[in-house]
Symmetry: C2
Subunit: 374 residues, 2 copies
């Protein structure tokens, strides 16, 4: 299947949604500080652009860098952002004119549009009905993107295979003493991921030796501190392959004290519990609630969510957390992490994270994240 | 000067602003997808938290990771985010209660609050006057942050010194043939920056050999393609030292053809022109307009802004671009980039970027970015 038809196929499904909703034009924006992978998903454009989809099934891309867009993007028309003074308001007006959107039509702008900016859009486009809402176009795309298509699952499988290679490699080099510091671990991953054809990492690698593993996300992400020494060391990373990211966490353990052993056992049990509960039709919130309860009964507390979808973003739908606004139901094609963890200011932290694909039958664990006893 | 007093001093200046504006409580939020370095600037907290400042001069920090906050942050009170179900609305209500904000008071939330979220804040807090505006608290902090204090200038000088070391090192290794690929260049910088005590890079290093330098920001950021071969290669990087980032661009040139020579000469002239115009009292927009005009008269077009402030963010105030909403006037203590560049689908791209400090006398060029002829 060519890339053109993949993108067109995705847009077709969205145009159907637009027709049902009576929306004439939808604007997507990917800009510094507010990324929206919908652009890459719909058109192949990696970043820094506006995308306009009209209900009569045309896609207009307005990129910041026209040379880059010509190389990567597929749309019915391309216009450089500089023609609109690099202002989103001006571009929206230009797109409505170019696509001949009838006056009075509904135009939907991103749900994350800031309140003051929303007022400006409305003021500038009094002849249209400007819509900005949580359960609108953005949510519809999020829902489409939450269930991966065949092309996406293929890419995620490739990313997972590379990830699994790197897990084995990093384990071997920690065991052999070649990796001594957080920096050594992070650099090995960066180097080897790119050698294997990755665009880069899915997010900044977090490598935290025993002195720093107490925090959920180590800050700074990695340093020249010891990694893999006595106690608990955490390595949280993902590779990005043609836009798709994995996300795994390994915990390395050396000479654990009793309190650390207990944390490890509980984390592994929580992981198995979560994996057993994950299947088509399961409520994501319910799985996370069971794990939270399991930790509470063990007199522990997990200070973060149980997991999250992965794909073009390191964190996307479906959410796997115990929050009352979480209504996701698992279905085949969803890919997400399960990552229970416990953290202690004295004993350090441990986390076990893998990437799970929901299949018709149940689950397939794509990655081989694990607790590694040295 | 202790860190506590630096943060307190910054907060004091802001409390004065709040008192003048009649705002009782201001909320700042740093979260994935919407970072706000105001948190680090006011409290030392590196990321993932809410910060509440009340007009009676109290600072309440609500971090996602309480262990991390205890290590880094300075505030009058800390409460874990999990106590508020990790929901910003709930945390705002909790903060107003904890800080005993009188009913009917003005509470300002971030200017980037999405329109649907704004409606929820208003609905949840009918007893208060919820304010969300562009020219409010966020803009006031941006203005304070645009003029660096002594501590910040010290950190930026250290970051610039490390950057200059790395520029020399990378030049030497490209000349000696040790750096052959984009990946080699990027990895050297990552490795050496961390060796010199940096937290990491200020942004993902962009290394683009002759085949990829045509785009403003190469995608992917770097690959295993040749770097420094015949034509134009671009290396755009910054180091992050105790939160503060530099931002420089080098262009490496080998065996340029006539069209490439012309691009280089124009870029260097534009840079010198911009630097000559930069001084206290100059209008940032005017400088950018002169450079745009210079390129236009040379029958070229620069497809991006001339520069931007740097500090806790790689892009912050003041903007140095030719857009009618740009009203920044340069003043001593401002630190920003000047980065003219030209890009051609056939001949590749060139850019020259350095970091400039405005002083009472004029300018000080902190970094040694340059065009390097091989």
């Amino acid at each position: 299947m060519s890339h053109t038809s993949i993108f067109e196929n995705r847009r077709e499904r969205f145009y159907d949604w637009m027709a049902r909703e009576g929306i004439s034009l939808v604007m997507f924006e990917d800009t510094e500080g507010r990324r929206d992978p919908a652009l890459r998903w719909f058109s192949g454009q990696p970043a820094d652009a506006l995308l306009f989809l009209s209900v009569d099934r045309r896609a207009l891309l307005i990129p910041w860098d026209i040379n880059l867009a010509k190389q990567y993007a597929q749309a019915d028309a391309l216009i450089p952002y500089s023609e609109f003074d690099r202002q989103a308001n001006t571009a929206l007006q230009g797109a409505a004119a170019k696509l001949k959107i009838p006056l009075g039509s509904k135009i939907e702008i991103p749900a994350l549009t800031a309140y003051p900016a929303f007022l400006r859009y409305v003021g500038d486009m009094m002849d249209f009905d400007i819509i900005c809402r949580d359960q609108g176009a953005g949510a519809a795309v999020e829902k489409l993107r939450a269930v991966k298509d065949d092309e996406e699952i293929k890419l995620l499988r490739t990313a997972a295979a590379i990830t699994n290679d790197l897990i084995d490699l990093v384990e071997q080099k920690v065991r052999s003493g070649k990796i001594k510091t957080e920096f050594d671990a992070a650099r090995l991953l960066e180097t080897e991921a790119r050698k294997r054809g990755c665009e880069g990492m899915g997010f900044e690698t977090l490598a935290a030796g025993p002195d720093r593993s107490f925090s959920i996300h180590a800050f700074p992400a990695y340093t020249r501190a010891e990694f893999g020494g006595p106690g608990l060391s955490i390595l949280d990373f993902g590779v990005k392959y043609q836009g798709y990211t994995t996300d795994v966490t390994l915990t390395f353990v050396r000479e654990p004290v009793r309190a650390q052993e207990k944390m490890l056992i509980l984390t592994e049990k929580a992981y198995t519990l979560a994996l057993d509960l994950a299947k088509p039709g399961a409520e994501a919130r319910e799985i996370a609630a069971v794990v939270d309860l399991f930790f509470t009964l063990s007199k522990k507390h997990m200070p973060h969510g149980l997991g999250h979808g992965i794909g073009l973003e390191a964190h996307e739908a479906p959410a796997i957390r115990n929050r009352k606004d979480n209504h996701w139901i698992l279905e085949p094609g969803m890919v997400f992490t399960l990552e229970p963890g416990l953290y202690d200011p004295v004993h350090g932290g441990c986390r076990l994270e893998n990437d799970i694909l929901i299949t018709a039958e149940g689950t397939e664990v794509l990655t081989k994240g694990r607790i590694i006893r040295l």
